[in-house]
């Protein structure tokens, strides 16, 4: 796969692809010159020989590996790195199936399995069934299952398939969210419900798809609904009884956003009173999005949580002049009170549905000769950001793939330099915008290996045409106002798996994939990185070179998050949920019609051939050495 170009898929307009390529080439020059100017002072620092060993997550956020997998991101630093070495570069080619398990649900399986002690927990897409599998017995039989029976009507307000990104374990309990807006705590041993908090309202279009994060006795949960005019929030629920301790909104007055005297944003553009109101047309913040459906990280030393905010609504930017705070950005908050410490906006006045909710990996590294506590974010708008996580200062922002919707990031003001040629608006068709609304990378989380100093990024390579249209706000219905059709990006490969050298701020190697790489990834101390493709291949590649070491064809396309753990027998296992769907796979899981270029908010146009490559079906696969 490495270095080979895939032929343009059937049904894809070759001329469009060529046009996108030409534009990318011309913009690449432009982007690089801007980056050189903007990053000049920093490039000299980055050009020193990188010392991989110098980059590592803070020990308190990434404790020594106990062989379990208790949260989707592996640890609070969100490294998705396992210290297990039994499976390694040399023997991974011998991996074989240990057991499988059907989830019984034919929708997109985005969740990460959890392993705690002798039990594996998996959560399905709607209807959000939790299964506990007993790993200590042959074939891992079901220990218990819990069916929350969410309201079927919730399926009608879930933007992009009815996915769930996983559960979390803490203090003997399993915490997870349901599509219809409940957070539920179960006894991890028996599956008996302990509490059930109803915090989302489907009648205004609110759903919950994210995996919760448990920090200091609080369950952190955010809502989805950026395509439905839902006002975003993050809530902290008491892990003991489920009551809401604090709520931080993504738009609105400072008191709602939990902005107080401790709030010290680094850049002037984020300073002021009630910016969550004043950077919107009157009242628009009430239906303005800024949802939180992605990933949260936690730094115990600083006692800060870090979470992004989703896109502003509607997508049509003409209907919401202003910077639209606090959407498409990132907050650092006090882990106890939720009080905002700093904020940075990736995409002020977002033009292209660039949600800011991707994962942030907490690392300590030497930057220009000084030790810095940083946060690494491969962002939807196409830049890989390194932020000082104590202040929110942007140290660097480098495009990690084709980007023409912007011309770089101004490191003085922190502001994204939007490309006026790609500005969307009502009644205007803008062509060949890269990346797409789904971003250069969407929710699919990357992994960082302190052994190689590389960040392994599963991502997309797509471009799009957009036309803004008028839209009415009707509570509980979509609020988008944009016709979108996506096309393969430059090169024709719709996805890529990029190993990014964090110290040098450039790719170490790139694996091209025919379809978007919509799965997460895990990397191990055995120098193996695992990811899945939408055709259904589960792949193991060398973490150093990217060489394909092993692959296994599962029954459906993979969009889940691989994990690895030490089983009760003391041996290392690798687990992945197979089952195509999600936004990218909605054409299959939702049986959509590819003759409409705008189906699934335009994603179907780039995925016309997916129905010929895979079918729906959720199955857990677990692998081990013989």
């Amino acid at each position: 796969m490495k270095g080979t170009l895939h032929p343009a898929p059937a049904g894809v307009d070759a001329a469009q692809g060529a046009r996108a390529l030409a534009i990318w080439n011309s913009f690449r020059t432009c982007i690089f010159s801007v980056m050189l100017l903007a990053c000049g002072p920093f490039l000299s620092g980055a050009s020193e020989p990188p010392s991989a060993a110098a980059i590592a997550p803070p020990a308190t956020a990434a404790p020594p590996d106990d062989g379990q997998w208790t949260m989707p991101a592996k640890n609070y630093a969100s490294t998705r790195f396992s210290e297990l070495t039994e499976i390694n570069e040399g023997n991974v080619k011998n991996l074989q199936v240990a057991f499988t398990f059907s989830t019984g649900v034919n929708k997109g399986q985005e969740a990460a399995p959890l392993v705690v002690g002798n039990i594996m927990y998996i959560v399905t897409p709607f209807p959000n069934i939790i299964y506990a599998l007993d790993l200590s017995r042959p074939g891992a039989p079901m220990k218990w299952k819990y069916e929350p029976n969410p309201e079927p009507a919730a399926q009608g307000v879930a933007c992009c398939d009815v996915v769930n990104r996983g559960a979390a374990f803490a203090d003997g309990r399993i915490f997870f969210n349901t599509l219809d807006g409940h957070t539920i705590a179960l006894d991890a041993n028996t599956g008996k419900p302990i509490w059930n908090a109803h915090i989302g309202n489907i009648n205004i279009g609110e759903t919950i798809t994210m995996a919760p994060l448990v920090v200091k006795g609080k369950v952190l949960v955010g809502n989805s609904g950026g395509e439905m005019g839902v006002r975003g929030w993050v809530k902290a629920l008491d892990a003991g009884d489920g009551h809401v301790v604090w709520t931080a909104y993504g738009t609105g007055p400072d008191k709602d956003v939990l902005i107080g005297p401790d709030f010290k944003p680094h850049y002037d553009m984020d300073k002021g009173t009630d910016l969550g109101v004043t950077t919107w047309p009157p009242e628009a913040w009430k239906i303005g999005g800024g949802n939180m459906w992605g990933w949260i990280s936690y730094d115990p030393d600083l006692n800060l949580i870090f979470h992004g905010t989703g896109n502003p609504g509607p997508w049509n930017p003409d209907l919401r002049p202003g910077d639209n705070k606090w959407t498409s950005g990132i907050f650092a908050r006090d882990a106890d009170t939720g009080a905002a410490k700093w904020f940075y906006q990736w995409s002020p006045h977002d033009l292209h549905d660039y949600d800011g909710i991707n994962e942030q990996i907490l690392l300590d590294m030497t930057w220009q000769g000084k030790p810095r506590k940083v946060l690494v974010r491969p962002e939807r708008n196409g830049y890989l950001y390194i932020l000082d996580r104590t202040t929110g200062e942007v140290l660097s922002a480098t495009a990690y793939g084709p980007v023409n919707s912007s011309k770089g990031v101004d490191l003085k003001t922190g502001r994204l330099i939007a490309n006026p040629d790609k500005r969307t608006g009502t009644g205007k068709v803008v062509r060949d915008i890269c990346p797409t609304a789904s971003g250069l990378k969407d929710w699919q989380p990357s992994a960082f290996s302190p052994k190689t100093g590389l960040l392994y990024i599963p991502h997309n390579n797509l471009c799009m045409d957009e036309e803004g249209v008028e839209v009415n706000y009707i509570a509980g219905t979509p609020y988008v106002g944009m016709n979108v059709r996506m096309i393969p990006g430059p090169g024709g490969n719709r996805g890529a798996f990029t190993a990014w050298d964090v110290a040098a701020a450039k790719p170490a190697w790139v694996l091209k994939e025919n379809f978007p790489v919509w799965s997460g990834t895990v990397v191990t101390a055995g120098d193996v990185a695992f990811y899945g493709t939408m055709e259904g291949w589960f792949k193991a590649v060398s973490a150093r070179t990217g060489d394909l070491l092993w692959q296994f064809k599962t029954s459906s396309g993979i969009i889940g998050q691989p994990i690895t753990y030490r089983g009760p027998d003391g041996h290392q296992y690798v687990a992945i949920l197979s089952g195509v769907g999600g936004w990218a796979g909605a054409i299959v899981s939702g049986d959509l019609d590819p003759r409409d270029a705008t189906a699934a908010l335009g994603f179907v146009n780039a995925m016309k051939d997916l129905k010929n490559a895979t079918t729906a079906g959720g199955t857990l696969y677990v692998f081990r050495l013989p």
Partner: protein, 177 residues
């Protein structure tokens, strides 16, 4: 001669106008009418009987004016937010041959009016009844179930699919006659 032509032109137009379909440009019905139940299955114990037809169905189905109004309302009421331009998204595709709750205009009208359990909201208290009939007529056209002489033509917007009056009947798509 020129005068004669000038006389003839309005006459011709008047004659053509006589052939035009009726347009009820001021729908008078408000909410709540058309509560006729519509079965969502063809399976009936004791044998299938003809399903009741609503007296409004005929006046809306295959009517060019109502279908073009339906097309406008399809985006105004955010139908397009879930069903895109017929290909589907959050909601199912409407341009294919698969109908979960029936393909007749009465069934589609009932689906819009009452909602369906797996996510279709009930618009019965939001949309005037006649406009729901217009939407239903347009949804029929999306599946190629309307005469090409009456179905809406191309958009002034981005080309998203062949215009409705060129869409083939989804039920026979790809099958030999």
């Amino acid at each position: 001669m020129r005068q004669a032509l000038a006389m003839l032109l309005p006459l011709t137009l008047a004659l053509v106008a006589c052939q035009r379909e009726e347009r009820d440009t001021r729908p008078q019905s408000a909410l709540g009418s058309g509560e006729q139940p519509t079965p969502v299955t063809t399976l009936e114990p004791g044998g299938q009987r003809p399903s009741p037809t609503d007296n409004k169905a005929a006046s809306f189905e295959a009517n060019a004016f109502h279908m073009s109004e339906g097309k406008r309302l399809f985006s105004w009421f955010n139908c397009s937010g879930c069903h895109a331009n017929g290909g589907g998204g959050m909601g199912p595709a409407l341009m294919d041959e698969k109908w979960l709750y029936g393909s007749s205009i009465e069934s589609i009208h009932a689906t819009i009016r009452d909602g369906r359990p797996n996510g279709m909201p009930s618009f019965g208290q939001k949309i005037p009844d006649d406009q729901m009939w217009e939407l239903a007529a347009y949804v029929r056209a999306l599946g190629g179930n309307a005469p090409s002489s009456a179905a809406p033509q191309r958009n002034d917007d981005m080309m998203v699919h062949p215009s409705e009056n060129r869409l083939p009947d989804a039920a026979t798509l790809g099958k030999s006659p």
